[in-house]
Subunit: 381 residues, 2 copies
């Protein structure tokens, strides 16, 4: 173990008080000593994913956060909306560590041979509490990266890549043959486009701006539809007709888009109908909401028959559904294609301390496609 | 074959023209001669179910219909909303017979022994085009009723009874243990209540008026919640907590109720949660929309985690899913409990000609719980 290893480290925490105050703080905690089958990873790159926002911000509008605490014990505060409080009952008063995934270098290891074998290796890890300087992890759970891989390249090995792959797995498992994806210019959307191109799967990419459409087209996407265009509805029908998609994944959650997608699918299905079915097409049409970019209500204007569903979709339950072996197959593909299919781009690299600055939170908390933040805890040293 | 059998008969038809005009008419068509394995049923009782409305009215507001045609060839007309027209593409210009189910007496039969055996019997039948005076049907498809059963008692043997039973079957098949039902004071709702009481299944009955709540309580319902009451939200949570329901069937379709039901389920599930799950309870919560009493949009205020679904539900695909044997088991139960569990009540008995009067359509087309119309085509003789 290098002599330089400190006794304590910085860790980012999020707390909701029983009175509804959100407190995000940087606290000093012990550096854990790895158990026999564990390693200690010096964190160098951990992304701020949309899936981290719920735990971190607890539904607080990031623009309303104010600085509190001191230089030594920095903190930001905000007020949780009253309507959101019932959902946080089980976390009230608990100071929670944050961060789903990240990568770094193994700087210490337990005595087991498999832990020792990882010393000095760059690894990607998953499992919460990544927004800190040192994270212990079971050796077996580490994804060991090829020599020469930089931690920033491996920071997002799990959430986005496995989500994109699992969308395609869901498609196959539930009997669909093509996909619709919204917020399609996101890091995740670009990955999904690369997967679908590689696997020969029809993908309808819905974006919200012309420059996002151009970006995806440059990357080879065939069916790109801009929801801000006046002819969006017709172009969506054309793209669904061109692909045969009857399944959609929507990152936005709120608004009318899920219903519009179902209506476009039904229009395409009815085009080829040979006789009138009073209940609409019998082909099941499904939209899964996997994100919450728009927290407003989902407004579904029915009129696409009775064979449809809208519902939540989450990665972890899906991986449990397909089982360990199938999950390992997906992970192996991520490792093999980390610098191609599953490459992520970041617009900003910040320290843990930066992640507590109200003006920085206002930027990464905006949930805008096109900006993507990476925390590098070595900047706090 | 009785000498009195006429050559022609009256049949109710619904037509949407390519220009979007709805025409409901009474036309004279031949009385069919039954094939070898068929019988001819003189229709005496055929209900106007919510599931008949789509084909009959094509989305036209019944209050806007006007009389047209002559005494000899009566007709009513109305304008189909432009927004509904794409869904009717496959029926434009086709004059369609209407009516899902009904009962009557077998007045003629083909030469096969099984057809001959039904002569004089009262039977219930399913299969469309019931709003006429004589309907031919395969002998095997007839549900033969106990001697002494009046056709009016057997008019609704299929749609409501099989739907109510299939809701309970769906519950079992998809791993739930109790149910929520909206529009619970309807004929279907009262049947479902009797089934759940008999089978010991927890049922939350959501109604829209105090008198409907009283009606269901008189019939033994334990968990009745009135959505017009100021404490609806709390009472709904109490009822869901009391039953453990994680599945709901909603007849209304539009509005905020499906989301409110999911939120109440989530509140109950979180009560017993021992640790904070940032994505909400992992227990799947489902609302199936099986009706369209409110044609407005379904507005889902999310905030009940990610393990949820809302979707359409239809009887026929469900019966196909469970297969012939399971369906026969459900039908046998209906026949055995026709005068008890599956008894229907009608507020109005009308002729085929009455069914074309604008003031009558305005009443049966209102989709109001508490009124239920039965067509008796013998009144047209």
């Amino acid at each position: 173990m290098p002599a330089a290893l400190p006794d304590t480290q910085l860790q980012l925490r999020s707390l909701v008080t029983p009175e509804g105050e959100l407190q995000i703080s940087l606290v000093r905690v012990p550096v854990p000593a790895p158990a026999s089958n564990e390693v200690l990873v010096r964190m160098q790159a951990t992304p701020i994913n949309p899936s981290d926002m719920g735990l971190l911000l607890a539904g607080v509008d990031p623009a309303t956060l104010v600085a509190a605490g001191s230089d030594k014990e920095p903190m930001v505060k905000g007020q949780v909306p009253a309507a959101a409080m019932p959902g946080f009952k089980a976390r009230l008063g608990a100071s929670l560590a944050v961060g789903n995934e990240g990568a770094g270098v193994v700087v210490a290891a337990g005595e087991s041979p498999e832990a020792q074998a990882l010393l000095g290796k760059t690894v990607a890890i998953l499992g919460g509490a990544m927004y800190q300087q040192y994270r212990s992890m079971r050796a077996q759970a580490c994804l060991v990266l090829e020599d020469g891989t930089r931690p920033s390249e491996a920071a997002s090995c799990f959430v986005n890549p496995l989500t994109a792959l699992s969308m395609v797995e869901t498609m196959r498992l539930e009997g669909h043959t093509a996909l619709v994806h919204t917020a399609a210019a996101s890091n995740l959307g670009q990955m999904l486009n690369r997967i679908c191109l590689a696997d020969g799967i029809g993908l309808v990419c819905i974006v919200r701006k012309p420059e996002q459409a151009a970006l995806l087209r440059e990357q080879g996407a065939k069916w790109v539809v801009d929801s801000s265009a006046p002819d969006f509805a017709e172009k969506l029908v054309d793209a669904i007709a061109g692909t045969g998609a009857t399944l959609a994944f929507d990152a936005i959650g709120g608004g009318r888009l899920p219903g519009q997608i179902l209506a476009a699918m039904e229009t395409v299905l009815n085009r080829s109908a040979t006789e009138y079915s009073r209940y609409g097409s019998p082909v099941h049409k499904q939209v899964y909401l996997y994100g919450n970019l728009d927290r407003g209500p989902t407004v579904i204007e029915r009129g696409f028959g009775m064979a449809w569903g809208v519902g939540g979709w989450l990665l972890t339950p899906f991986l449990q559904r397909i089982g360990l072996e199938a999950t390992q197959r997906l992970r192996a593909r991520v490792a093999a294609e980390l610098r191609t299919t599953f490459a992520s781009r970041y617009t900003d690299e910040i320290s843990l301390a930066d992640a507590l600055k109200p003006e920085v939170i206002a930027r990464y908390g905006k949930a805008a496609t096109g900006s993507k933040f990476l925390i590098n805890p070595t900047l706090d040293a």
